[in-house]
Amino acid sequence: MNQHLTDGELRASLDDESSVSDLHHLETCAECQTRQRQLQVQSQATARKLAFLNPVAEEPVPAAKTIWIRFSRNILTKKETSMLKRWFAFPVARIGAAVVLILALVLAFPGSRAFADELLNLFRVQQVTVIPVDYTGLQQLTGNNTLGSQINDLISSSTTVTQKPGDPVAVTDADQASQLTGFTVRLPQGMTPSEINVTGATAFTFTVDRTKAQALLDEAGRSDLVLPDSIDGAKISVNIPSAVSVGYGTCPKPEADTLNNSDSRNPARDYPDCVILAEVPSPTVDAPADVNVAQLAQIGLEFTGMSSDEAAAFSNSVDWTSTLVVPIPKNAATYEQVTVDGVTGTLIQRPSNDLPQYALLWIKDGIVYAISGLGANSQQALDMANSLP
């Protein structure tokens, strides 16, 4: 081979990555050898600066066996998140922290019981009940693309958004927030918020297509769960008032579309001191009087993996006209009733070595309040709540 090597070929030769023919030429070509030495000087300079990338030592890393347990949990969480995203993958859910929390429950257990036989049911949140749920049912569905398509189709074809909330609006104080939301926003005394955001009101209607909903259960392998004929065509209207969320510490910026955010990494390191207070007047849900919400709730609970008897017992114990039902993961979170802001609230805590969390929920004068944060210091939430004017 008479042709001299290119700079690229010479660079490869420095890493012993030359072809046999290139190597042979290099061994006999003084000119190429000179150029190779020049390139070597340049490469060595880069190599020195990037020496930290060189695996010269076996850096200690956590044992694979230990990490496997964490990994398993991590995956499981994402799978559940993914399933939840499917359930809530429509615009109305993109409205704000408190609203998302409430909406989840409204959609999971829609509606209410009859106030008047001939009128629509009216659901309005007055109290909170926590239910530990085993998510076995949902786990088994992950990866079922047919089911995912069915869920998307059911929601998109049955839901009409009548009022969009728009993007969150940043405000500077409680007065501005009150003006925008239309209710008196209360902020903890002696604390300076890092940001205050108001999300607009939203409304949507959901018309039940029993055939599609039943097909969804069938696809999920739960043909034993039979939806009542009476729900077919039932029109459920949901109105969620304007809400405010107040961040303390370093918190992530609000975005209108969070559901497609695939970054599921642990936020604890980025926002370890972030505490969020959310306030929203009770959403209202109108449903036809002949919709038996307790029965639907029982089906929903059985779907998640609860036994029929347990689901029936819980469903019949709840006043669905006024109760915000908060599902928490069985065996992974605890809850207790606490006195807060002059009323009885619910403190939910998820102990964890790497990412403990807490959420404090209470309802006062028709407003739903939620304070959530990372870490085990739930006392901070109680102090904040008790300092509200």
Binding site: S43, A45, T46, V61, G96, V100
Partner: protein, 190 residues
């Protein structure tokens, strides 16, 4: 704000029971975990962040599970995803700032009394190098990270979907760009 609450809600769904993963994936995890975690540690310089990123790498792999037969290049895939995640991480100003502070503190804590200046100079060089890698175009920074992590040209080519013979020229160009940016950054900081 919304993101945070959603993440909390998602995390609140966590349950403690482990899913019965296939033993095949568990074997794969055990085999590659340490190598990927070390690769990420060297890229980002922060053990906790490296661990998180390594977990994210395997989470993404799990989404491909079961892996296709035949042509799937597992090593190349893991190298590429881990490298990209590491580079994304050091591109984040906030995180980089955190690592720099953490790494600097570690050096001082561990430095023998006789040589803190030398260690700090080295640390400073690494800080600038990470900063340059973060600012370069993706392909060039991938090449440099993989090459200086000891990955062979053949594996780099597979991971980056390039011809093995193109690695030398591309690497040379990446090194020149790196040196140019490094000089500019050094002058800027002086």
């Amino acid at each position: 704000m919304i993101i945070s609450m959603k993440k909390r809600k998602a995390n609140a769904q966590e349950i403690v029971e482990l899913e019965p993963y296939s033993s095949e994936f568990e074997t794969l995890f055990m085999e590659h975990w340490a190598r990927i975690c070390r690769l990420l540690y060297r890229i980002v310089g922060d053990p906790a962040e490296a661990e998180d990123l390594a977990l994210e790498t395997f989470s993404r792999l799990y989404r491909h599970h079961p892996l296709p037969d035949g042509e799937f290049n597992l090593n190349g895939w893991l190298n590429r995803v881990a490298t990209n995640l590491g580079l994304q991480s050091i591109r984040s100003f906030k995180r980089r700032e955190h690592y720099e502070l953490t790494a600097g503190k570690g050096v001082l804590d561990e430095a023998p009394e006789s040589s803190p200046a030398e260690l700090l100079a080295q640390q400073e060089e690494h800080r600038l190098a990470r900063q340059v890698l973060a600012a370069m175009n993706e392909r060039q920074s991938q090449l440099l990270v993989m090459r200086y992590s000891g990955i062979a040209y053949k594996d780099m080519a597979q991971a980056l979907n390039l011809s093995p013979t193109s690695i030398g020229p591309l690497l040379l160009r990446a090194e020149r760009e790196f040196e140019k940016r490094y000089r500019a950054l050094t002058e800027e900081e002086e």
